[in-house]
């Protein structure tokens, strides 16, 4: 049920992770230093982003597909909060920057955790430069704009994890996903509260259940943030 772990793979993971910590710091700097005047470098490689191979072949692994999907979501969230914390809107209320900083930290840790879990199976393992996400659809110069964006991203995250969990065949990965999604739900509730007190569970209907979205639904929602087309061909549907 779980990913085989040979001693060689463990070693590779460990050495990989040492690099990953440094890489995260570097990419944060790149994002921070990316002003409007800097044209974004073209992303080399294929023009579409495929998150894994869910086609039912002997070598396909739905766990890799779902983890890559989660990894992309966490990359988007981490980049968003990093941008906001680096250049916060002037009208944030007392305490709000502390919330946003905590949320940035959590999402970046989620991202690095998933990168570790995927190892060389990470979708961007062979990309020369990491994807630079596009948040131009958001208004990040006001607290209302920032929290509206945070609410949107967190709600996408909760619904995406809730909808994708059933495709995992590894109990370990399911366990790990559960540890992350409740933190996303805590974030989502707070973002809602900041914008509109009392709205923490407005999306919870008469059954008392939260949203679950299919990968295809989620990809349509996150495509505006991703600079290349995301292929849904290999995403699980059943």
């Amino acid at each position: 049920m779980h990913t085989p772990s040979s001693p060689a793979r463990m070693l590779a993971r460990r050495s990989f992770f040492r690099v990953a910590g440094a890489g995260a710091a570097v990419s944060a700097l790149v994002l921070a230093g990316c002003g409007k005047d800097d044209p974004e470098p073209p992303v080399p490689g294929t023009p579409t982003l495929s998150l894994g191979n869910f086609v039912a072949t002997a070598t396909s692994d739905p766990n890799i597909t779902v983890l890559n999907y989660a990894y992309l979501l966490e990359q988007i969230e981490a980049a968003f909060y990093d941008k906001v914390v680096t250049t916060p809107p002037a009208d944030l209320l007392p305490g709000e920057l502390a919330y946003l900083t905590d949320m940035r930290d959590h999402e970046l840790i989620h991202r690095e955790y998933l990168k570790y879990a995927l190892g060389t199976s990470a979708y961007d393992n062979t990309l020369a430069t990491p994807l630079v996400f596009d948040f131009s659809t958001f208004t990040l110069t006001t607290r209302t704009g920032v929290w509206t964006a945070a609410r949107q991203l967190e709600e996408i995250g909760v619904a995406a994890y809730n909808g994708a969990a059933k495709y995992l065949t590894s109990a370990d990965h399911l366990n790990a996903l559960g540890k992350i999604v409740s933190v996303e739900a805590r974030h989502a509730a707070l973002a809602r509260e900041v914008l509109q007190p009392g709205s923490f569970a407005d999306n919870v209907g008469t059954t008392g259940l939260d949203d679950a979205k299919t990968p295809a639904q989620v990809v349509a929602l996150i495509q505006p943030f991703v600079p290349i087309a995301i292929s849904t061909a290999n995403l699980p549907t059943t």
Binding site: V158, K166, A171, K179, I180, V183, R186, L209, D210
Partner: protein
């Protein structure tokens, strides 16, 4: 009698026999004492105990209905709590409001009361949803009299005495119940994987419990009459919690009673190898099977994030026996619900 010879013979048909005794090999520490302390007559009895630990199926992995019925019990616990405090006689679907409930309601701002009533509605809906999902397999509704939310085991004079007339106490117990629920659903999820629809539904309840916990934590930071989520950022302690669990949250809202909600669980024998129940301050993630995970705080030290962030980023699951012990805080002596 050569004990190791016996084990060696067993190993030929069960290569994992040594692991079965105890993954941490503590059994061999116990065995060190055998030679010194135990008579030959007592040895067979001791061996029986050891083999029972290794192979005995005193508990087996819960099935889908077991997990759902356990969740249903917890939802009754939560729903009865909000019902008694805010509206009705405790039971599902009773919506009369007493003078005492009106008095408690008056201690909250209109928006905060509205949030509490929404949480109450959600918990009652969870009971109904799970009853429908289980159908004829659902447990009978427990009697309201089986619960004592003061923690007094039936005396109604426990450490939370007065919780239904004191807004701060009410919120403290509410947060404790919701945080317990989040950990419990997380612990149950791996046993629901065989039924994709049920797993998804359970996770959809799980994230709602997390929303509730987050909202209650907002109220506890600002106070029952304060609507403003931005009032204070929260220190991450029991008295002024963040919206997420930070470390072990200082033992929670009332550490003498609530510390176990944030502490480590204990893995029952049937637990899959990669799944553990660490305390909420855990920073090591990603174990797969027998392979250990990675200490994220160490591996990502270059980020210079506060230590608490690494625990806050992940909520941890709890096992059924530990959740049952926590839940028994709120049942009367002699109750067999949990």
């Amino acid at each position: 009698m050569n004990f190791f010879h016996i084990l060696s013979e067993i190993e030929k048909t069960d290569p994992e026999v040594f692991e079965r005794f105890d993954s941490r090999r503590q059994v061999f520490k116990h065995m060190t004492g055998f030679g010194k302390k135990m008579t030959a007559a007592a040895l067979p009895l001791a061996m029986g105990a050891i083999f029972n630990k290794a192979y005995g199926q005193t508990t087996s992995a819960p099935g889908v209905n077991d997990v759902l019925n356990f969740a249903l019990k917890l939802e009754y616990l939560e729903a009865y709590f909000y019902n008694i405090g805010l509206s009705g006689d405790g039971t599902i679907g009773n919506n009369t409001t007493t003078a005492a409930q009106t008095a408690l309601r008056a201690q909250f701002s209109a928006t905060n009361l509205s949030s509490l009533l929404k949480i109450r509605t959600d918990e009652n809906n969870h009971v109904n949803f799970l009853r429908t999902a289980l159908g004829a397999d659902a447990i009978a509704a427990p009697a309201v009299s089986q619960f004592d939310f003061t923690g007094g085991k039936g005396t109604n004079a426990g450490p939370f005495a007065g919780l239904f007339s004191n807004a701060a106490l009410f919120l403290a117990v509410a947060q404790s119940l919701e945080d317990t629920g989040v950990r419990a659903y997380k612990g149950g999820a791996p046993y629901l994987a065989s039924n994709k629809d049920v797993l998804t539904a359970a996770l959809n309840i799980h994230s709602v419990e997390a929303r509730h916990a987050s909202r209650l934590r907002t109220m506890r930071r600002g106070g029952p009459m304060n609507d403003n989520a931005s009032a204070t950022a929260g220190a991450g302690t029991g008295a002024s919690p963040k919206s997420w669990i930070s470390g072990q949250d200082g033992g929670g809202a009332s550490p003498a009673q609530t510390a176990p909600i944030y502490a480590a669980g204990s893995a029952p024998a049937y637990t899959p190898a990669g799944i553990t129940f660490p305390a909420e301050d855990n920073v090591t993630q990603g174990a797969t099977g027998a392979a250990a995970g990675v200490n994220l705080q160490t591996a990502l030290a270059s980020l210079s994030f506060p230590a608490a962030a690494f625990s806050e980023a992940f909520d941890e699951p709890l096992d059924v026996p530990t959740v049952s012990t926590i839940a028994r805080t709120f049942t009367i002596t002699g109750s067999t619900i949990f």
